[in-house]
Symmetry: C2
Amino acid sequence: MTKTASLTASRRNSVDDIVDHLYREITSLRLLPGTRISETDIASQFGVSRQPVRDAFRRLETMDLILVRPKKATEVKKFSMRAIEKSRFVRAAVEAAALRKAAELCDKAGGFELDSRIAMQHKALANEDYSGFGALDYAFHKAICEIGQVPFAFDIIKEEKEKVDRLCILGLSKERRMPQLIQDHEDIAAAIKAHDAEAAVAAGMRHLSRLDETIAAIQINSAAYFTDDA
Amino acid sequence: MTKTASLTASRRNSVDDIVDHLYREITSLRLLPGTRISETDIASQFGVSRQPVRDAFRRLETMDLILVRPKKATEVKKFSMRAIEKSRFVRAAVEAAALRKAAELCDKAGGFELDSRIAMQHKALANEDYSGFGALDYAFHKAICEIGQVPFAFDIIKEEKEKVDRLCILGLSKERRMPQLIQDHEDIAAAIKAHDAEAAVAAGMRHLSRLDETIAAIQINSAAYFTDDA
DNA sequence: GTATCCCAACTTGGATACAAGACTTGACTT
DNA sequence: AAGTCAAGTCTTGTATCCAAGTTGGGATAC
């Protein structure tokens, strides 16, 4: 989650619990876009009054996860292609910048780090551990940011990635895409190790573009979960 | 503040009014970082109960503008160099991507657009209209995004720019920097019109780096408004 | 049988009362 | 005179009540 994690740690009250719970429910798609949720329902689920739930709703609202329609109802926000394109653009820009830095600054230890992460991905593929691949994918991109000495870049990538990950649950299973994604990672790692910034960026953008196809397919198959804004 | 108190609470969503008001107060630095604000105080200022103010606080909290310390107090959040660096990185990455696209796609009309905006900036400089320069600066960067056909890129640039603008009020007056900034804009426009992406990015990064000096100076002179996190 | 209209039940928004933690200030003790 | 402890007053957190608007269903008229 975006917030200041270190500070919220000392603030474990019921509001945070409700926010966390609904955040997970929504991002995991257990609560589908368009689902109506009621303050009183959530309140009784947690055994508290409406007040903490209201606070939680305000936070989720500014996080753009729910849509509060006064006097009518509150529902899980639908996907917006406009928001997705914006998110994709940010991620592409940040990832490109991180890749350039990584290609410039990568040393032997960095190269080894990338290789070992890719090896773990191969192992996950061999073990058919599809659910664990997500974390390995995150770790790979995080390693790139660290090699490029732009650790905060991963914060942004993570934020944007999470937004889209929710969407991708609707798509095909990962197992078919995994070999392709690992191959992309190998291309990226090779370019970084060769200090070839442009090749690294090109490989990174190719990697990202896989997502576009997936999203396009989902948009067609699950049109009901999308707003018709753009 | 007192003049609009009862009027703004007319028939609009009072929560939005409170958020807007506090947002302006904070970003304009009329409310300095560290200033304590109380739910009951704001409530009586607006002539409403604590409830709408609480809702507003939740929104401002997720916007990272205030820090709510339960049972203690709520205060205007201080500047964090970590957050500023992150913001700078995002902006640099997005701006670089927009500049590359703009250099690729710029046509005659786009070049004219850039030139005319720069001409307006020269005029503002001649008229010593320092306060109006800010809007012209925004417009220039927005034009770049539009030429590059990435309109949402400006949304992000604007967001990040606003965060830092609050800080820059503490710095030196713009009048000394204006000629330099306009010169930067001319370099950027020339590179875009020449379809030289790398030169455009280089000029854009040089433009952004001016901010670093300003911020460094402010950090020293106004250390009280900064957290000591980074 | 169908269409229309009204009312009841649902939703969130706002106000108020009370609870609980933290800081301040004062008096009391040493 | 100085240190310590406790009460008071500040803060935000929570519960509950009422207001206002929308929706859907049931009853009634045709």
